[in-house]
């Protein structure tokens, strides 16, 4: 499994042709305590850069964008029931949704771990 990152601080971990999408530790720290998550509908076709999920922290509203084109195949209901999971464990239990990739080249073009670490300093 390989993980790639966007400039908007989403991550996507690829397993076969299914990517698990969430927001990075850096992103959750910047947003502060999350109080509300609205997930995309299962089956929704997303284009890279589309607003996929709505995220609200005590401070501000934000979106998790689709890192690649694809179809939403699963959502993590646990973060809807308890948004604080995204703060406490963003890159494991706090994942957002799974997407079936339709264009793997988009995934390969995203930042790898080293490039993302450089971005966030």
């Amino acid at each position: 499994m390989t993980t790639r990152y966007t400039e908007d601080h989403e991550y996507i971990t690829l397993d076969g042709d299914i990517g698990t999408v969430g927001i990075t530790h850096f992103a959750q720290d910047k947003l502060g305590d999350l109080v509300y998550v609205e997930q995309p509908k299962i089956g929704r076709a997303l284009k890279q850069g589309d607003d996929a999920a709505i995220i609200e922290s005590v401070k501000a509203a934000a979106e998790a964008k689709a890192p690649v084109d694809g179809e939403v195949v699963e959502i993590n209901q646990a973060i809807v029931d308890d948004p604080s999971l995204v703060n406490s464990d963003p890159e494991k239990a706090g994942w957002f949704f799974k997407i079936k990739l339709s264009n793997k080249a988009q995934f390969d073009a995203l930042m790898d771990d080293a490039a993302y670490k450089k971005l966030i300093g």
Partner: protein, 377 residues
């Protein structure tokens, strides 16, 4: 407001905030702590359960000296200042000729002068206004040499006691006087802006850090940032100037008529005589002249609804706007304040907030959202 880092001011607690791990942000021309490592949610809940210490030194402190100070100030606010007893504080509003509000403030009668606390973003304008309008009737003394701390929460009294030694603590909400705290001479009022019992402490800049450290060493006191200050005041139904109040809003529209004592209203001994009195008293005397009102709103769902969101009637007509909105950690639900046309202002009225373009049901509710913890007699 866009502010570049180089022209921002710092309070005397800047170094302490940084050493406590605060995230500093520009606010009203100052570098202020928005949150500490605890985070907004836990800081908010800690204040409601125990006690929180807030640096509010960016606010302006101004003294009015002279025999005419109280009556002079009454020409600028629709509030009973002449009748304000020694050792008591009152919430007040600076009005303009149109009856709008250009700042809210606190006025405390020390017995020898009036001590005012005004908003940071408005202080230059407020001071100029005081000097030009009443500077000939009283001395307007700007106290840039004073810092201001707020200690808020049900544990505030215990924390204050721990450094007060023999100094007498003001016993009820809005009472105050001089105290010696950790050996430092301070002006203390039993007040604040979180809805909780607590104190605001005016202290010389040079001794502010020592006092803050003494208070942080008291049991169960945590430093609290501006993020939680905002959610605390919103849950308490308290207005934030520039958001819930502005120059186009009258005190009647803002549902602040409780701040206007009878003596300044029609038929009172000192009725009117403040800027915009014709507009404001006419609205008080004839409710049909009040076109819109500030209300509390509660959505059915859990999505926060924020400032600027349009409010519509069920048939899709714009009837108002959200002026403050966010998530209330204590009520564990979104909390919203806004203005609606008078016909929609009664508690229980169902309207829609246009959240990301979708009509989202909200109900007009009484405020505060979280009960006040003020210590009354």
């Amino acid at each position: 407001m866009s502010e570049s880092a180089e022209n921002l001011s710092r309070t005397p607690l800047f170094d302490l905030h940084v050493s406590l791990g605060a995230r500093m942000v520009p606010f009203a021309g100052y570098e202020m702590p928005v949150q500490y490592p605890l985070g907004v949610m836990k800081e908010h809940l800690h204040t409601r359960a125990h006690a929180g210490l807030f640096d509010v030194s960016h606010m302006g402190q101004v003294e009015l000296h002279g025999i005419e100070a109280a009556s002079a100030l009454e020409s600028l606010v629709p509030v009973d200042i002449v009748g304000l007893p020694v050792g008591k504080q009152r919430y007040a509003l600076f009005t303009n000729e149109q009856g709008g509000i250009f700042d809210d403030l606190m006025a405390f009668n020390t017995g020898s002068y009036l001590h005012l606390v005004v908003n940071a973003a408005c202080k230059a304008h407020d001071i100029a206004h005081l000097k030009s309008k009443i500077g000939s009737r009283c001395e307007v003394k700007v106290r840039d040499d004073l810092a201001l701390l707020a200690l808020q929460g049900p544990g505030a009294e215990t924390a204050l006691e721990s450094i007060a030694h023999d100094s007498a603590i003001p016993q009820i909400f809005m009472a105050g006087g001089r105290m010696t705290l950790a050996g430092i001479d301070c002006l203390v009022t039993r007040s604040g802006y979180t809805g909780e019992d607590g104190f605001e402490i005016s202290v010389p800049n040079a001794q502010c850090e020592a006092l803050a450290k003494a208070l942080l060493a008291a049991p169960n006191v945590q430093p609290i940032g501006l993020g939680a200050r905002d959610s605390l005041r919103l849950e308490a139904g308290l207005c934030l100037y520039g958001h819930d109040l502005d120059t186009s809003t009258t005190p009647v529209e803002a549902a602040l008529t409780w701040a206007m004592q009878k003596v300044r209203r029609t038929g009172g001994a000192r009725a009117g005589g403040f800027l915009g009195a014709d507009v404001i008293l006419a609205q008080l005397d004839d409710p049909s002249k009040v076109k819109r009102k500030r209300v509390g709103l509660k959505p059915e769902g859990r999505a926060p609804i924020r400032e600027g969101v349009e409010l519509q009637s069920s048939d899709g007509v714009k009837i108002g706007i959200v002026t403050s909105g966010g998530f209330g950690p204590t009520v564990n639900a979104p909390v919203i304040m806004g203005y609606v046309e008078a016909a929609y202002a009664a508690a229980g009225t169902k309207i829609n907030a246009m959240l990301r373009g979708t009509p989202t049901p909200v109900t007009v509710v009484d405020m505060p959202f979280a009960p006040h913890g003020y210590k009354r007699a």
